[in-house]
């Protein structure tokens, strides 16, 4: 059966060039980077090289990159570390209603420990309002954390402008750039951010390795305590093969960035056009102007997303839902809710995310099957365009 993977925002396959670089660090080059003999030093050198590659992708200094175990760890560290570092100054954090759970649930945790959190709403394009952000600042605000690109509907936030507001008020600024890395130009100096979370598995690197950009001068208390690894900022014997893989993936992402963005955007726009012209009653969720180049989020009105997902899976097409009955959950997506999408339409929403191995043929095959499956489910459905919801 044909296999079409359209869930690159969930994770990506490791590119062959990346895997090739990683392999030796599992076997012959297995040394602990903290050891003084040669294979230890080799590992250490490999980490330094990878750090340079990740720094290079975002315009950071090498010492400003700290490897972590994943994007979620970076998010947890940024929030909890700042809360701890700045608790004498205040207890107020500003974030958005559409953050990834790695941020949202950490905020909930901090709320239980005496912190107050403002969750900014978004407009129908999925973007925050900068004057609302500024108005939310109090003399107790210690952190502003705003995701760079949303994982469900792809909205790109005005990070540079938001960071400038934070700076004006002397507040640290963090951004979760897990979906943004390798999908938009990022220059941390130009953006003016203090902390930025990243993850390798969204950019064709391995799972279980992330990084934090920590601007020089931002002194964040450690999160994982122990050895002196990562400039004494993050303990634990380094996951050398994963770090090497992250480095290579970052190097490739940098080399291919403009081509990657152009290619994905074209495929994305083609797919949206095909689906919306060939299938009636389809809504595009989120705006098109500031959008992840590979993100498509659609509501197929009058049917439920999971049934669509399963029938697509039977045809070898992998996508994800933001809907109620999705995977393990019955709660409608908090992101689409924040966009103002009515609940019944959230139930019929699907995310297609396009990546480097997606072809036009993959998309045509998907559209063909969508036409058939959507029609089938609509004949079964108890709601329809004639009768309404």
């Amino acid at each position: 059966m044909q296999k079409v993977y359209l869930d690159y925002s969930a994770t990506t396959p490791v590119k062959k060039e990346v895997l090739d670089e990683m392999i030796p660090y599992f076997t012959e080059k297995f040394g602990n980077p903290s050891s003084l003999y040669e294979i230890g030093a080799d590992s250490k050198e490999a980490i330094t090289k990878a750090r340079g590659q990740v720094a290079g992708l975002i315009g950071a200094g090498e010492k400003e990159i700290i490897f972590t175990s994943c994007g979620s760890e970076s998010d947890n560290w940024a929030l909890i570390g700042t809360a701890e570092a700045k608790k004498d100054k205040g207890n107020h954090i500003i974030t958005t209603a559409i953050e990834h759970h790695a941020v949202l649930h950490t905020c909930k945790y901090l709320e239980k420990h005496g912190f107050e959190v403002t969750y900014l709403g978004v407009d129908e394009d999925g973007r925050i309002n900068l004057s609302e952000l500024e108005a939310a600042i109090t003399d107790k605000t210690i952190l502003i954390s705003i995701m760079f690109i949303n994982n469900e509907m792809g909205a790109i936030q005005p990070i540079k402008e938001a960071a400038a507001i934070a700076k004006k008020h002397g507040i640290w600024f963090h951004t979760d750039a897990v979906q943004a890395l390798g999908n938009v130009e990022i220059d941390v100096k130009e953006l003016g951010v203090d902390m930025m979370s990243m993850s390798a598995h969204k950019i064709y690197g391995p799972k279980g390795i992330g990084a934090m950009y920590l601007r020089k001068g931002v002194v964040l208390p450690g999160f994982i305590h122990g050895g002196a690894q990562e400039f004494k900022k993050r303990a634990g014997t380094e996951s050398v093969p994963n770090i090497v893989g992250f480095g290579k993936a970052a190097e490739l992402a940098k080399e291919n960035l403009s081509e990657h963005i152009a290619r994905l955007s074209e495929l994305r726009d083609y797919f949206i056009k095909e689906v919306t012209t060939k299938i009636p009653d389809v809504d595009v969720n989120g705006g098109m102007k500031y959008r992840h180049p590979g993100n498509v989020n659609l509501t197929f009105n009058f049917i439920e997303g999971e049934s669509l997902l399963i029938l697509l899976d039977m045809k070898g097409i992998c996508i994800s839902t933001g809907s109620a009955c999705s995977s393990a959950s019955l709660v409608p997506s908090h992101v689409l809710s924040a966009l103002g999408v009515p609940v019944e339409k959230i139930h019929g929403s699907l995310r297609f995310s396009i990546g480097d191995f997606t072809t036009k043929e993959d998309l045509d095959y998907t559209v063909e099957n969508l036409i058939e499956i959507v029609a089938k489910l609509r004949t079964i459905s108890s709601v329809s365009s004639e009768k309404g919801w």
Binding site: S9, A10, T11, H101, N151, F302, I303, E304, E306, S307, I310, L311, D313, M314, S320, S323, A324, C325, S326, S327, A328, S329, L330, V331, P332, S333, H334, P342, V343, E344, H347, T379, I380, S381, S382, V383, W389
Partner: protein, 152 residues
């Protein structure tokens, strides 16, 4: 999809009795698109026996499979027999559903009751099995487990 057993998958892929009966003797709906599932059931009833049943369902795979199973289970049954069918019976016939999907079987039980209630109302009839039936009860009154969402 590994989440459903073969029986459920088969009914979801090839649901039986999809549609609406013209001039049905009883029609009932249960659930709502906001809850994520809504089933509409229509019945043809002759001499107290359900001679035909059709459904239309907005919902996930297990809601569609449960609906299909429910129609199969009630065709040929007397009204009293049909009213005795519970969501557990539907579940059993389906060979089980994953935990968060159990409410889909409740959907079909309640849709059967709603359609028979409509029939009873139209004909001024009373049935033992509808004694405690509340046509205005919402899905949340019956069973709805809300789990936390997780993901990438």
């Amino acid at each position: 999809m590994a989440m459903y057993n073969d029986k459920v998958m088969d009914l979801f892929m090839n649901p039986q009795n999809v549609g609406e009966i013209e001039n049905a003797d009883g029609v009932g709906t249960y659930g709502s698109p906001v809850c994520g599932d809504m089933m509409k059931m229509s019945l043809k009833i002759e001499n107290n026996v359900i001679v035909d049943a059709k459904f239309k369902t907005f919902g996930c795979g297990s809601a569609i499979a449960s609906s299909s199973m429910a129609t199969e289970m009630i065709i040929g049954k007397t009204i009293d027999e049909a009213l005795n069918i519970t969501n557990k019976d539907v579940l059993k016939e389906l060979g089980g559903l994953p935990g968060p999907k159990i409410h889909c079987s409740v959907l079909s039980e309640q849709a059967i009751k709603a359609a028979i209630y409509d029939y009873a109302q139209k004909h001024g009839l009373e049935f033992e099995g509808l004694k405690d039936y509340d046509p205005n009860a919402s899905e949340d009154d019956h069973l709805h487990e809300h789990d936390e969402e997780d993901g990438e």
